[in-house]
Subunit: 617 residues, 2 copies
């Protein structure tokens, strides 16, 4: 077992005593946290707890003389104490009245493989798997539970949605170890979830995994019984089916509703939720085929199934129709399933957004998505984890912000990105106020900057195909992934309006009209929806090509400014060194992106930069 | 240990008894082979052997009544019997007089890692390594020895030139196992060679690997003593230094001559040869830098060192200045080192030439290289192995041709590709003569066809960067490998003449003049040496862009014709099924290449095909 983790405390620096082994319920931990915080930080204040089990995750905080009273449910009191600490650290006024989470399910999906690797992980190896088995330091798991609870996350799916052997044994021979792991996180209000291989019956003596086959149904029912007997509060299963070569109901000519419902019925008696991912598309597309359009896929497949899913199925939909790109329109599926419980899926792991080297604070992106979508469209939120075995948990110490913020958005989807970022900064670092503002401002602008120097105006997929890092504007162009920009000497982009692939027609009328018109479409999404000549005039009068050049020069300049700003901060070590080293890399990356993308478009268009800046041949 | 190999006999189908364990010298094996062949195939003929040890590898064959007499050296008699069998099978007249190899060193370089993988291997896993140790079936190694001896190959380097742990232990703790392995191949006239990590002293308690450091020199001398004591006929060491992040003398500001000579002196007392690879270039190039030109690298580094190498150093030079591309000019270094023993390096493993799926018979390529270079420029030939654990040894049963032919070219660099290919066909398959001709003709044209449908006119590097398979015309364009085509809306290619990077000036005058002129330069290399507009007129009057389109349509059509031709052959199973399955894949590949490359250039140039054939948008 690796002990190489550095025991770093992320946004909880004042909770500087580990939660001891043997604390078996949230109230006990809540009392411990209050004592730790108020004795160390704001000495002498007392916190009293009133337990009302029916309140469950809810809580209320009131001042009581010099101290506080937190009333709440079993987990609520724990959430209450963390909210209190967060609020004091951030200098916020205490929330008034009873607080409860807007989304009952607030899930982290870990793409951890049992060999210890983490798919698209940028913070080191798995914290709990190695060499095909569980292998962890219980103290570190408790510390992780504390971090998750401190921002109100209540479900942790511990294995990759791409279920590689031997992870299927988490559902049978490894169940006792799953329960041991679950027991460590239970007092923090965190329940486990398991990713499941749809074809598992085939690996267990059955000749089919057909969801309409009675033997298959019975097998899953019996299996569920064994599983929940061992882990009684397991939250449910997460399934990636018929997607990127994973098995699924299509093999038996069954719909995804039939597939999901079969599993849902097996786990329903135990209160399990069946989370079914809607990330399904043709990953063997022919680039010559200009009619098949990957962003259409999820809507085309699932919209006709609205109303066909059992009530304990949750359809988990990525925020955009592609795959966690820097800029995508909100997935049209999110508007189209009023009768189906939906989860909105984000990705904290910075797969396409800088690998936890480049800064990319996500709250502004989420704010836009939630505003465009309407928070009430979904009943749950999920996010792909950015955690790993690195000493600072996240690869980049600032990447912690995204996990922190995700938890807060699960409770309050109306949150203001600026305030959430400020709260993270103030909880994490004790700095002069002006430095806190500087850091918060760098983070707040980081997504826009990253967007400017990478793929322009919603084009997406200009990264290197294997690593998903660094510029390769034509790297995906002739591949089978359905991810093309179709740049040529005349123009760039794909017409996704009615005259093209028709993707824009999947939206409700008000959005469909906006997206259909190059004049109305937001600049940021222009090349997502339209194929345009380089001479196209943007709203501000610039040509499309000039806008591309300008954005790339600006984005790079902004990255350089971020670097200058970070250098002025008196961050504690090793955070300072880690952040500055990665910032160096980011500035190099930004220059590379700027030059590659500008050169790429100049090579096609033959058009010079109006301002005469250097574009390489 | 895997027993999954199929005991297939490649070009030796009539030697259908395994060479028994315990035959300890070539003469014994020669007698066994003669008996096997003549009793089974051409019953009743007798072969007598006359051993003249001083003849070593040489031999002479004469008819003697109904039978034959083979006189020769220790290994010569074995080579003689194989030549006799090959000649009878191919219907050739027997060679007259004493035969001896033109190149004394005829080496196969295996890129086998001790974890069982083979770098750039397309015929399955390693035949002798697995799980960090030797793990093989001795019968299979004997069969491989027989194959190597049957075409006169006398050195086998058994581990990857990129020496990954624990392969450095082949030089210390694993020496007894190396000797055990060597002993199996010794009776076949095959000596082992080992790839060596230049930094090995650092892993053994020394604080430096500086070749001018006496302690380092002494360490290597002592090590050599131990090694040759254990494996007395070890052929020598193979070293990849200061190349693609391998350690080397540069770290100590020493020249490659200093590095190589230090090792050469350590192994000289034991008759060892130090093979030093000249494949050294800047693999962290900036694509913006148009002056640094990777093909220049080896000449720039080594030419000034001519005359500085010890006599038991052999500088191993790839045939082209890049890296085994489909079409390259001969490396200028091969003309520039008259005082240095050189080895010419080929690659049987079809890294950039179809992964042993697409047909690519190499003799025509080698014929061109040897003719352009002059066979006397080198004293040795080496080839990267295409062998693996697959049942048929080569992935594709026809890929066997390349190993077969390489052996023959090592003996006779004047060989005619057509005759070599015909000999392989006739030795491998008993088919009606017309079918033999059909197969030989398909193979003879396969390189030209592959060239036509892949990268045009010497451009190189249009493959996918990680796999080196399938088209990605801009995949390498902005990377650090120094491998650019710089296509834009005006033209394509790099000016490597005096006015450009100056690479063409590295050639002797007669070649430099040819390459310097777009009018004189061979069409196949036009875009290797020149940057030209799409409207450039080729020698035959076509425009450059039209020639690109034509070649790609023709190449694809030729692949389809090859497929039709193969279908007519009554090949034995499983060869037939394997060959046809792979041919299906090749035809798909050819279509993909045709369409991607044509579309790529039409997107840039905006120019239509004159013949109105389909080029996708």
């Amino acid at each position: 077992m690796s002990k190489s983790w550095g025991n770093r405390l992320a946004w909880l620096p004042k909770l500087n005593r580990p939660v001891p082994e043997g604390m078996n319920n949230p109230l006990e931990i809540a009392a411990f946290e209050a004592e730790t915080y108020f004795q160390s930080g704001n000495s002498g204040k007392s916190v009293f707890f009133e337990l009302y089990p029916a309140m469950k995750e809810a809580y209320a905080i009131r001042k009581d003389g010099d101290g506080y009273v937190i009333s709440g449910g079993q987990t609520g009191v724990l959430y209450g104490v963390y909210t209190l600490i967060r609020g004091i650290e951030a200098g916020e006024t205490l929330p008034e009245g009873t607080q409860k989470p807007y989304y009952p399910l607030r899930m982290i999906n870990c793409w951890d493989n049992m060999d210890g690797t983490v798919e698209r992980g940028y913070a080191g190896r798995s914290i709990w798997f190695e060499n095909g088995r569980f292998d962890y330091d219980p103290a570190r798991i408790r510390q992780m539970g504390r971090m998750l609870a401190s921002v109100g996350i209540n479900v942790l799916c511990i294995n990759n949605v791409n279920v590689h052997q031997p992870a299927q044994h988490l559902l049978d021979t490894l169940l006792p170890e799953v329960e041991e792991f679950a027991a460590i996180l239970r007092p923090f209000g965190v329940r486990l979830m398991l990713s499941v291989d749809f074809s598992m019956p085939l690996q267990n003596g059955l000749s089919t995994a057909d969801p309409e086959d009675v033997q298959v149904q019975d097998w899953w029912k019996a299996q569920a019984q064994k599983i929940w007997k061992c882990v009684p509060d397991l939250a449910g299963f997460l399934v990636k089916a018929d997607s990127e070569h994973r098995p699924g109901p299509n093999a038996y000519n069954r719909t995804h509703a039939q597939g999901a419902n079969m599993l849902a019925r097996a786990i329903k008696p135990f209160g399990g939720v069946l989370v079914w991912r809607a990330f399904v598309y043709n990953c063997l597309q022919d680039w010559r085929d200009t009619q098949t359009d990957r962003p259409r896929a999820a809507y085309d497949l699932y919209q006709p199934l609205d109303g066909c899913f059992d009530e304990n199925v949750v359809l988990q939909v990525k925020y955009g129709p592609f795959d966690f790109q820097v800029r995508e329109p909100v997935s049209p599926l999110l508007y189209a399933m009023p009768k189906t419980p939906l989860a909105l899926e984000f990705q904290l792991a910075q797969e396409y957004t800088g690998h936890q080297i480049d800064l990319f604070a996500m709250p502004p992106l989420w704010r836009e998505v939630l505003d465009q979508m309407g928070k009430e469209k979904v009943c749950a939120v999920a996010a792909v984890s950015n955690l790993g075995r690195d000493g600072n948990w996240f690869g980049h110490p600032f990447a912690a912000l995204n996990l922190f913020a995700f938890g807060l958005y699960g409770w309050n989807p109306d949150a203001d990105p600026q305030k959430v970022i400020a709260a993270w900064v103030r909880n994490t670092y004790t700095l002069p106020a002006s430095q806190q503002d500087t850091l918060a401002s760098v983070l707040l602008g980081s997504r826009k900057t990253y967007e400017k120097y990478t793929a322009p105006l919603g084009l997406c997929w200009m990264v290197r195909p294997e690593s998903h890092y660094g510029p390769s504007p034509y790297g995906y162009e002739f591949q089978a992934w359905g991810t093309y920009n179709r740049a040529d000497c005349r123009g760039v982009g794909i017409d996704r309006t009615e005259k093209g692939t028709g993707y824009a027609c999947q939206y409700p009328k008000e959005w469909a009209e906006v997206f259909a018109s190059p004049q109305a479409c937001p600049d940021e999404l222009l090349l997502f929806f339209h194929r345009l000549p380089y001479s196209f005039r943007m709203k501000d009068g610039r040509t499309l090509i000039q806008r591309i050049y300008d954005d790339h020069f600006e984005g790079c300049r902004e990255a350089e400014n971020m670097q200058e700003a970070l250098k002025t901060l008196s961050l504690p070590e090793p955070d300072r060194e880690e952040a500055l080293q990665r910032m160096d890399q980011q500035v190099q990356n930004a220059r590379e992106w700027r030059d590659v993308i500008n050169t790429f478009f100049r090579r096609f268009s033959g058009i010079e930069d109006e301002k005469g800046r250097k574009i390489y041949d």
